[in-house]
């Protein structure tokens, strides 16, 4: 199967415009008219309850196929991989597929979002089913025309054949097919029959990306549009007392300066004008309460870590009797791990277009949760949900930040107030200062060893922001240690936090996978063999258990084999880590060398079990990105707050990993026929601890705090 991105973009462009313009040639078939094609259904439901799906396939007379990608593309590759699912079952040549981004349409689609690494997992059956249904209808149409039985026909690569050797292209059948009833019994392919799924398919937007075509929200432009930017409180908890915008208003090109909801919007003819005007506005801020700083928060958090059974604690999971087992232990291993707030830092700053008029509200931009955003705007403006039209652009990074719709609401409100179409644009400093950060977390872990075995495990989480939820409390090592308890507590704060790529897991894995190595050291056991031993003990009858010990073992064995675990050349030090999140199992081995007393991560081996790998090319890109992102943030990511204000406001004072600091990756996938799970997040959590464990091997130093490198030195 060839990929789509050959130099035919002009041809496609031609095809699209002529077909759409003339109207007569392209049949827009909504094969299935019912709603909610992405409802989460079991296999049986998916097959029988087919009327719940809508394929959004258009077929032209020449056999070209347009497939609508329902979910927003944030770099996770779903604009390519989801249409692959449809094309596979529809049985068309991928070269003949044109992918288009669908608009938000809650009547047609369900879960048009990007988050939780769930798109592939939830779409696997519904989207394939919609493709298969369309194929069946095309076959039926051909059989009717030939006056033969459907059983005597089959379809392949966009052509229906019968036993006599006649053939008809989908394009010739499409008009008839649309008039047929949607079948209720849909047969999906056996994985052995896949022709597109499992192939290396390239990013459908490649041509546009490498030539700089406007694709992103920030690139959106429409006649008559103004640019707006917003001044928000520089410190969490501040209120506007007064402001002077005289100078800003006099600046040529500034249209309006208005106060709304404790913020100030500046509207003008272009971005530079409003950015410049923003700096000319003097604002007096006040605050009723004491403003927070990260050092004070650290102190509060550590107090709770130290305190026995503080009243704030809630138990998330409890097996056996941890306290008794710890009392009874020969040895107790105990450690505290710490991680800071992290901004998301999508490379494309927050922005959104809004045009609020009497007739409708038009919204365009980058959002991971378009449905929620549209509803929130309807509520904000007191409008009917049907008045809201929302278009999703390609997204210059999400990482969780664009699950929030604050910037969509701001854009809508500004447009409503100034009665103009506007695009709200943040500066990098705005994104930093007014972020929704990764929660700041500290973990205390204690484990008891008795007769050379781990008999108890206690984890206490103190967080500013999100805590461990029920499912994460059931990740490894849950169910593998008889006395096991997870307690959580939250520190109240005005600092806004939010899911950040692989929420909770991104810190929890650092704590737990570092701790596993500490336990192994105490037991004088190989860290991999300790994990394997615990996995063997895992009680698979425990229905709360989220991971699969067998699949975890599979990735561990794969990675240790590929990396020659334990046999690193002189001067190279290995660190291991494995983690399950987002229903995907991952094991990593990081290799570091030491130069000038500092670790350099040279190489990472990555083994993944995500079930069927829909697009190996895209999957590898996700895994590599996740690992390097995880390493970068574990090594350098650090956001400091003083007097309630972020102290790091741009990339000069906030370090992101750069090419000369990145390891090379080798990614391996476990061969599997199991339904696929997500890849946007699960390789990130184990990356930091694999590096921490390798650094321990290299320097004998155990890292308890992220970032690992602070002010150019190891953070110990």
């Amino acid at each position: 199967m060839k990929a789509t991105n050959q130099t035919d973009s002009s041809r496609r462009q031609f095809l699209k415009s002529t077909l759409f313009a003339s109207g007569g040639l392209l049949f827009g078939i909504n094969f299935l008219n019912a709603k909610n094609p992405l409802t989460i259904l079991s296999e049986e439901q998916a097959r029988s309850g087919f009327l719940n799906f809508n394929a959004f396939i258009k077929i032209a007379q020449d056999g070209k196929v347009i497939i609508y990608a329902p979910n927003p593309e944030i770099g996770q590759g779903v604009k390519t991989s989801l249409p692959m699912l449809i094309a596979e079952e529809l049985d068309v040549a991928w070269e003949n597929v044109i992918v288009e981004q669908a608009k938000l349409d809650i009547k047609k689609y369900k879960r048009q979002g990007a988050g939780g690494s769930k798109s592939i997992e939830f779409s696997w059956l519904p989207l394939r089913t919609s493709g298969a249904a369309a194929k069946q209808m095309l076959i039926t149409a051909a059989a009717k025309r030939w006056k033969v039985s459907v059983k005597d026909c089959h379809a392949e690569n966009g052509i229906v054949y019968n036993r006599r050797g006649d053939q008809l292209g989908y394009g010739e059948l499409v008009e008839d097919a649309t008039k047929l009833k949607v079948p209720t019994k849909i047969k999906l392919k056996d994985p052995s029959e896949f022709k597109i799924i499992g192939q290396h398919i390239k990013n459908v937007d490649l041509d546009k990306i490498v030539s700089g075509k406007p694709l992103f929200g920030l690139d959106y432009k429409i006649e008559g549009m103004f640019i707006a930017t917003v001044i928000r409180p520089p410190s969490f908890g501040q209120k506007i007392v007064s402001f002077n915008a005289d100078e800003a208003k006099n600046l040529s090109g500034v249209l309006n300066v208005i106060e709304f909801k404790n913020k100030i919007a500046i509207v003008g003819v272009n971005t530079w004008t409003v950015f410049k005007a923003k700096k000319l506005i003097e604002v007096k801020w006040t605050s009723n309460e004491k403003l927070e700083s990260t050092t004070q928060q650290d102190k509060k958090m550590l107090d709770l870590v130290e305190k026995e059974n503080p009243s704030q604690l809630k138990t998330r999971r409890k097996d056996g009797n941890v306290k008794a087992a710890l009392d009874d232990a020969d040895t107790i291993v105990s450690a505290v791990y710490e991680a800071p707030f992290l901004p998301h830092n999508t490379l494309e700053p927050m922005n959104f277009y809004a045009n609020v008029t009497k007739h409708k509200v038009h919204l365009v931009g980058p959002i991971q949760t378009p449905t929620g955003a549209a509803m929130a705007v309807a509520r904000l403006l007191g409008r009917d949900r049907d008045d809201i039209e929302l278009e999703m652009t390609r997204i210059g990074g999400g990482f969780g930040r664009r699950l929030k719709n604050d910037f969509v609401l701001e854009a809508a409100e500004i447009s409503h107030l100034v009665k103009k179409p506007i695009k709200m644009v943040n500066s990098r400093e705005d994104d930093f200062a007014n972020g929704f950060y990764r929660p700041k977390v500290k973990y205390q872990i204690k484990a008891g060893i008795k007769n050379g075995k781990v008999t108890s495990y206690y984890l206490k989480e103190i967080a500013v922001g999100g805590n461990i939820n029920d499912s994460r409390a059931n990740f490894f090592p849950a169910a593998s240690i008889e006395n096991y308890q997870i307690d959580i507590a939250r520190i109240k704060s005005r600092v806004t936090t939010m899911a950040w790529r692989a929420p909770i897991s991104n810190i929890l894995a650092f704590a737990e996978q570092s701790f596993m190595d500490e336990l192994a050291e105490e037991l004088q056991q190989d860290p991999v063999s300790l994990r394997l031993e615990l996995l063997k003990k895992a009680d698979t009858s425990d229905r709360r258990m989220a991971y699969s010990p067998k699949r975890m073992e599979g990735v561990i064995n794969l990675v240790t084999e590929k990396a020659n675990w334990g046999e690193a050349p002189n001067g190279t030090y290995q660190g291991f880590s494995s983690y399950f999140s987002h229903n995907t199992h991952v094991a990593l081995i990081a290799e570091v060398i030491i130069e000038n007393q500092l670790p350099i991560v040279k190489k990472v081996y990555c083994a993944v079990d995500c079930g069927v790998v829909v697009n190996p090319l895209g999957a590898d890109n996700q895994c590599v990105g996740g690992v390097i992102d995880g390493i970068g943030h574990a090594m350098y990511g650090d956001l400091d707050l003083k007097n309630g204000a972020a102290q790091n406001l741009n990339f000069d004072s906030y370090r992101l990993i750069r090419m000369n600091e990145t390891p090379r990756l080798e990614t391996y996938f476990v061969k599997s026929d199991i339904a696929p799970t997500g890849l946007g997040e699960p390789t990130l959590p184990p990356a930091g601890p694999a590096v921490a464990n390798a650094i321990k091997a290299a320097l004998g130093v155990r890292l308890y705090k992220q970032p690992f490198i602070k002010n150019g030195k190891l953070n110990i």
Binding site: Q76, V210, G212, L218, D219, L347, G396, V624, N650, M659
Partner: protein
């Protein structure tokens, strides 16, 4: 506001903007060339990289008043039909994740390969270190630059 004559991608423009406006915003807001991206505005991320007489620089730091007669090239003017060896290599390797940093990466690499067409891996990694890829597609960026260098020889 002041009037400037500007040469971008071998085309001449007359524009009337505030003289402190960085080239980045002239390209994007005035000329509608959206390939050059805004990432930080302070010269730290490389998303806004363009060629100034063939040399890669950050357009977010270059005020329009400082350009004069000099030739500006943006990603839109790098080649006809994506035929530059870097664009071809980029597609072959399937580099992008979100794609936002990519035109800046390509522009940095293009100017680098003009100066050094037989770069070592280390040289590539150092030359590209000014361009942030938040999605961390770094391995593939490195591979694509190496591939393009090979083709150019």
């Amino acid at each position: 506001m002041a009037v400037f004559n500007l040469k971008v991608n071998a085309k001449s423009y007359k524009i009337d903007v505030d003289e402190t406006t960085p080239l980045l915003w002239v390209l994007r807001d005035t000329l509608g060339l959206m390939g050059t991206k805004f990432g930080c505005g302070i010269g730290q991320c490389g998303a806004c990289t363009i060629h100034f007489n063939g040399v890669a620089i950050r357009s977010c730091l270059l005020p329009i008043s400082a350009i004069g007669e000099n030739e500006i090239k943006t990603i839109e003017g790098l080649s006809e039909n994506n035929s530059h060896p870097l664009q071809k290599a980029w597609k072959e390797v399937d580099v992008p994740q979100c794609g936002y940093c990519q035109s800046g990466q390509i522009m940095t690499a293009a100017s680098f390969l003009n100066q050094n067409n037989k770069p070592s891996t280390e040289e590539i990694r150092n030359a590209m270190h000014g361009n942030i890829c938040r999605c961390a597609a770094y391995n593939r960026i490195e591979d694509a630059v190496a591939k393009a260098a090979e083709e150019m020889n």
